[in-house]
Subunit: 153 residues, 4 copies
C-alpha cells in the first residue's frame, strides 16, 4: 500500500527482526524511520522525489521538531500502515501529522515539523513553488481516523 | 514485488535516507538487513512465517556465516530487488545465495549459512519437516541471472 | 566520559559512518539511540542496570513520549556528550531532560517520558523502591547549561 | 578501551537495546557496525581520521568484501572488545582481521577487504603514503589470541 487519497498518504510496511529489540517489541527510534519512509513515498507519489528536489531545486527537508506519542507497541511480523497528512505549510516549513497503525489501532502518533533548506548552504530556504503545490494536495482536510479510512469527501 | 517463481524468491525494496551514509551510498551493513527481509518474506510466501515457526515448532534460524561481495554501491531513491535461492539443506542448516540487484546489475552477492536452533535452549536442532518441505520449493534449480529473470524452465 | 555529577549524568560518544545519512549529517532518528545509551549508562552508574531490573524486579522501562527539538546537526567524527537529568518521578513513570551537545553547543533537546512496566504482563507497574531511590539521585536540581558544566552546587 | 598495542587495535563497546533483536541477541548485521567503529578509531589513533583523509588526500575506504563467522551471540548489557589487525596492504586495498570478543571468547570473526577510492570519482585510487605508513603500524605481526592479549614482544 502506497497511495494518496483524499489528502492522506498511506504506506504499508512489514516489521522484521531488524526493527525489534530484546524487549520483543519494535525499538522506539525506528518509528521515526517509518515516518521518513512515508514522507519519501508521499513526495514521490506527488511527483517530487528527493533526488529531483535536490538536483532541480537545490533544496532538502530536515526535521526540526518531532513530538512522538507511543500508545501501543508493534511486534515482529506486524503489518503497519503509516498515514501522513499536511497540517500547515509556511514559507520555509511544513507541519505534518504522521500516525502508525496496526489494523484500526493507532500505535504511534508523530507531530512533525520540517524545514526546507538550501542543499549547499544548509540555511533555511523558501519552498519551491512546485513543492508547495505538491504538498497542498496533501492538505485537503482529510481526517485520519483509521489507516484505510475516509471514503468520500 | 514479493514472489516465488521457479525456485527463486524476489523482494523489491526502496532505499531511503535511513539506509545511506555520509559517503552518499548505502551503508554496507544494511545489505544484510535487506537479505534478512527477503528471507522473512520468502518464508512467509512458503507458508512458514517466523512467528509460526517459533510458536508451533519452537525453532528459529540464526545466521552462522555470511560471505559478502560488494560489487557496486546503491544510492538514495534506488529500487532494489533481492533474489533468494536455496543452495543446500542439511539436517539443521541451510545455505542460501542472496543477490541484491538494481535493474539487471548485481550490486551485492551474499553466500549465507543459517542454522536451525531450538528457540529455548538455543542449541542446534533438526529442521521441522514442514520447514524442510517449504525450503525444498526454493531449490528447484533456478539460476538468478537477473532480478526479474527466468521465465519458463 | 560516563559519569554522574551533581545530579546530571554525562555520556560521551563518537559519530561514525553508521550514524550519518546521505545528507552528510546524523540521521535524525539516531539521537533517540544516543539518549537510550545514556539512560542505560545512567542506570548502570546508579547500580541498577537493565538486566538486574528485569531479573530481580521484573520491571522494564518503555518510552511513552518523546518531544525532540533539532537545533543543529551533528556530523561524521563529531564527539558528542549526552546529558541526562530527571525532571519528575511518579508512581510508575519518569520524566527526563536529555540534551545532546557538541562542545558547549546544544544540538538536540529531548523531553522524554518513560513508563515502568511489568516485564511479563507489559502493564504499568510501580517503580521498585531501589529504582526510585537511584533515580532520585539524578534529581538534585542540577541545571545542564553545558555538557561539562556545573561544578559546585 | 581504545588503544593500539603491538600492532593490534582494541576498541571496547557496550551493547544497548538498539543493538538487539526480538531473538534476545545482537542483530547479526550490527557486528559490521562495530567493526567499522573499530576501523574508524584505529585510523584516528594512527593520526589519520576519515575527515582528514577526505579533506587532505581526497580518498575514502569502501568495503569490498566481508566474510563473517558468527560463533556465539552477544546479548544486552555485554561489554565487547573489537580487535583489528592488518593482514595485507596492496596499492589500493587493505585486508583486515577483525574479531569481536566477550572476555576471552571470540564471538564473531570478520575477514574484511577494503578498497581505497577517490572521494569524487569513486574510482580505485592508490593509498596515500601517510595512510600506508599508518596502516603498516598495525601490521607488526601481533596475533589476536584474546581481546586484551599480547603483552611483551
Amino acid at each position: 500500500m502506497n497511495e494518496l487519497r483524499n489528502g492522506i498518504h498511506r504506506l504499508g510496511l512489514r516489521i522484521y527482526f531488524e526493527d525489534t529489540d530484546a524487549g520483543g517489541i519494535v525499538y522506539h527510534a525506528n518509528y521515526l524511520r517509518y515516518a521518513e519512509r512515508a514522507r519519501s513515498e508521499a513526495l514521490r507519489t506527488l511527483g517530487a522525489p528527493h533526488a529531483e528536489m535536490i538536483a532541480t531545486h537545490h533544496r532538502m527537508f530536515v526535521v526540526r521538531r518531532a513530538n512522538i506519542d507511543y500508545e501501543r507497541p508493534a511486534r515482529l511480523d506486524d503489518w503497519l500502515v503509516v498515514t501522513t497528512r499536511v497540517l500547515a505549510i509556511g514559507a520555509a516549513q511544513v507541519t505534518l501529522d504522521q500516525t502508525i497503525w496496526r489494523d484500526d489501532v493507532a500505535l504511534v502518533r508523530i507531530d512533525l515539523g520540517l524545514a526546507c533548506i538550501d542543499a549547499v548552504s544548509q540555511r533555511a530556504a523558501r519552498l519551491p513553488a512546485p513543492m508547495r503545490a505538491a504538498l497542498e494536495r496533501m492538505r485537503v482536510g482529510g481526517i485520519a481516523d483509521g489507516p484505510g479510512a475516509v471514503e468520500g469527501t
